[in-house]
Symmetry: C2
Subunit: 128 residues, 2 copies
């Protein structure tokens, strides 16, 4: 098992993600942390976001604009992406319509489409 040593920078990244809910990109996190730690480098942000994702402390969201966004993992929830402004909103479990398995909530705008992707290990890779 790979050992993970403490780092001030990684703590700052996790802390940043914990306290904001706008699903920032790596670059947005980098700029926020630079305000208090001007020496941090973008590579460090990317590496630690990858590490935190591997460790399951953080979740990566791919919304379709080619930029990965990050979310502090607390519980299973979904997302609503605006096709106009590209903002990403949380869809809390209680906002879901359990019968139709879709959103129906005054806080969420008009849903035009949705994408459901399952991740796992395919049959061929399991046999290897």
């Amino acid at each position: 098992m790979k050992e993970v040593k403490y780092s001030r920078q990684r703590e700052a990244i996790l802390n940043c993600l914990m306290h904001r809910h706008d699903h920032p990109t790596a670059d947005a996190i980098y700029h926020t942390i630079r305000l208090t730690d001007p020496k941090i480098s973008l590579g460090t942000v990317y590496r630690n976001l990858g590490l935190l994702t591997e460790l399951g402390q953080v979740r990566k969201i791919s919304c379709g604009d080619g930029i990965e966004r990050y979310d502090y993992k607390t519980y299973q929830h979904y997302h609503f992406v605006c096709n106009c402004c590209n903002a990403v909103f949380d869809v809390e479990p209680e906002m879901m319509d359990p019968v139709h398995n879709s959103v129906n909530h005054p806080d969420i705008g008009e849903v035009e489409s949705h994408s459901l992707i399952f991740y796992g290990k395919c049959k061929a890779c399991k046999e290897k």
Copy 2:
């Protein structure tokens, strides 16, 4: 309304997507078409994939590896992405377990997680 003129290249791209079900990337489509039309350029492939997506004839899939994949749009269906080999499989409607709204089918491997994203127009953008 923007007029869309016929183009041999666009037809080849659509034709390529219609006849394969491995959800190719722009680059994969480019290399396939180059076998019969060595003069086609990658920019043309990107531009036409974007156009076809706008026209709703093709669907873009973002699976989380930073590369966009494309799918010939026939009906609403979902996807299964292997975390090991990154292959993308179709999850047909009949493969879904309607009660738990998850996959349960011998053709699909082991599901570890899933991502559900809704797309639309947020409240702020609707009011503009």
